[in-house]
């Protein structure tokens, strides 16, 4: 696994001081090209900032042992922990895979304009000590954090998004999963009048997704209730959605109405449509291709050239331990 991170090793000679990195970035922006070079520079920045002792102590072959943690209060920050610039609100709300409205990413915004996201409630049930139906207002009382995450779509494009949300673990701890609970199952609202795409007979509606319980309890797994400091926009899954940043975007189910704890692995929509292509795990992994598309590289929205895709979408240090001993090729 360690070896698969080879492509992000950076010789000390290539590590750029932060100020120089910023000015170079500006130059590239002006030129309209934020290339793979900028990406490498970004890695360089986080290498030197985590070791604290500067770039001089790095040997050329040394791998990044620890990436900086994702901050809990990112308000005001303009980049993620790896130095990637945020995508704009315009980009985030006008390019959405949300088949409940349309299979056209640009049509989702206009079609979701009148979507009614209030009142809203979420049923938390299944193998829990305290099943409860939460009103949206109750959920907003959980400790809301500002997290900047990279979102990597299985279609090989990506964005950097400043979410507001609470850790799913906070909610699960309150309802107390039973010892028999092994998985968490999520279900989207089923309402053909509100969501016209759900009338399409070629899909097993409603949309549903699932996580292993330990994945759901991981601190990076959040229920997002907003972005850019405002309530979650309709095309992004209002009023609340899952965000699991180390998995392909389709795992991060939108407009959730039901969270159920189960003992067996739950059905998910894409896994039902095409089981050999959309595995239950669907972790971002440049070394394991989707059977039809390569996952080695991606295009960050707003950039012209492709950039290499990172193992677990760059959250390797945070989540790799969840999969120790698991064959990621078989469990795609």
């Amino acid at each position: 696994m360690e070896q698969k991170l080879k492509h992000i090793s950076v010789p000390s000679s290539e590590i750029t001081p932060h100020s120089l990195y910023l000015s170079r970035r500006d130059f590239l922006k002006t030129a309209g090209i934020v290339s793979a070079t900028a990406f490498l520079a970004a890695c360089g920045v986080n290498l030197s900032s985590t070791t604290g002792t500067g770039s001089g102590t790095q040997t050329p072959t040394q791998l990044p042992t620890k990436s900086p943690p994702v901050p809990d209060n990112a308000r005001g920050l303009t980049t993620d922990e790896l130095g990637n610039s945020l995508n704009t609100l315009d980009q985030i709300t006008n390019y959405n895979n949300y088949y409940e409205f349309s299979t056209s990413k640009q049509a989702v915004n206009p079609l979701s304009k009148n979507f009614k996201s209030t009142p809203w409630s979420v049923e938390v049930s299944g193998l829990v000590q305290n099943p409860k139906t939460y009103a949206l207002e109750d959920l907003l009382k959980f400790n809301q954090k500002e997290r900047i995450y990279r979102l990597r779509c299985v279609e090989a494009w990506s964005m950097v998004i400043p979410w507001t949300g609470f850790e799913l673990a906070d909610l699960l701890n309150e309802v107390q999963p039973m010892t028999s609970a092994k998985y968490v199952h999520f279900v989207t609202l089923m309402d053909k009048t509100e969501m016209p795409g759900e009338g399409d007979p070629l899909y097993p509606w409603p949309y549903s997704e699932g996580l292993r319980l330990d994945e759901a309890m991981q601190r990076l797994t959040i229920i997002a209730t907003g972005l850019y400091g405002q309530p979650l926009p309709n095309p992004d899954g209002a009023p609340l959605r899952l965000v699991v940043p180390w998995k392909y975007g389709f795992k991060s189910i939108k407009a959730i109405v039901k969270i159920e704890l189960t003992e067996t692995q739950p059905q998910t929509m894409w896994n039902t449509i095409s089981p050999q292509e959309y595995g239950f795990y669907s972790n971002v992994n440049p070394n394991v291709d989707h059977p039809r598309w390569s996952q080695a590289s991606e295009r960050r929205i707003g950039e012209l050239s492709r950039r290499p895709t990172l193992m677990f979408n760059g959250y390797y240090d945070e989540v790799a331990s969840l999969y120790t001993g698991l064959d990621l090729r078989a469990n795609y």
Partner: protein, 218 residues
């Protein structure tokens, strides 16, 4: 000296319509790019639009003969070359966008996709099949190759089938399980199937005889 053979064939309205539709999509893409009307992922947008248009022209060129069979109208037969060449133009631009704009001519990345992924293999095969057809589409080649020309140009049926597969496999879903985002490739595929069926000699003769009968009755 015979004068008839020297007169230039008259430009028909059908011809004009085809050439307008031939350039309109390209003009639209260029306009949309500069007017900021493409999505925030413009390269993918351009790539997919060019691909769609190539499919439309391929189907249109394959529709000419069946249209004649059904209607007895000869004009479409003379427009097959133009439609086929427009298909080739958009297919070329599509391939160029994929290799150049999308993958920056990075042969390693392109190889990782094209040599491994069925949708890309089938897409490339379609394009390769179209090359000799486009090159030999002119009268000189037609005369030179004679009977062989007809056989060679039957490859377009295969190109049509491969093209629809390429389209379907590039979408999220499974066309063989009728599940997912496959409605449009499915409809185009069914249309192609109908057009190819109308070319099977007994079917063609039967449709022709129906037409002649109804013409006599009228």
């Amino acid at each position: 000296m015979p004068t008839i053979s020297r007169t230039k064939p008259k430009t028909t309205w059908f011809q004009v319509v085809i050439h307008i539709f031939g350039w309109l999509p390209l003009a639209w893409i260029v306009y949309a790019y500069f007017a900021g009307k493409l999505s925030v992922n413009p390269i993918q947008d351009i790539e997919q639009q060019l691909g769609h248009i190539a499919v439309y022209f391929l189907i249109a060129s394959l529709a000419c003969t069946p249209l004649y069979t059904m209607s007895g109208w000869r004009e479409p037969l003379k427009r097959r070359r133009a439609l086929g060449l427009y298909c080739f133009m958009y297919a070329s631009l599509h391939v160029l966008t994929f290799t150049g704009l999308d993958y920056g001519f990075n042969l390693q990345l392109i190889g990782g996709v094209v040599l491994k992924k069925p949708y890309a293999i089938v897409g490339l095969a379609t394009f390769i099949l179209l090359i000799p057809l486009a090159v030999t589409s002119f009268r000189w080649w037609q005369k030179k190759l004679g009977r062989k020309w007809t056989n060679l140009h039957r490859l377009v049926y295969l190109a049509g089938v491969l093209d629809i597969l390429h389209y379907a496999w590039a979408k999220k879903g499974d066309i063989f399980r009728l599940s997912g985002d496959i409605l449009r490739p499915l409809l185009w595929g069914l249309l192609l199937l109908l057009l190819l069926t109308l070319r099977i000699p007994p079917v063609r003769r039967w449709v022709s005889s129906l037409r002649q009968k109804s013409a006599r009755a009228a």
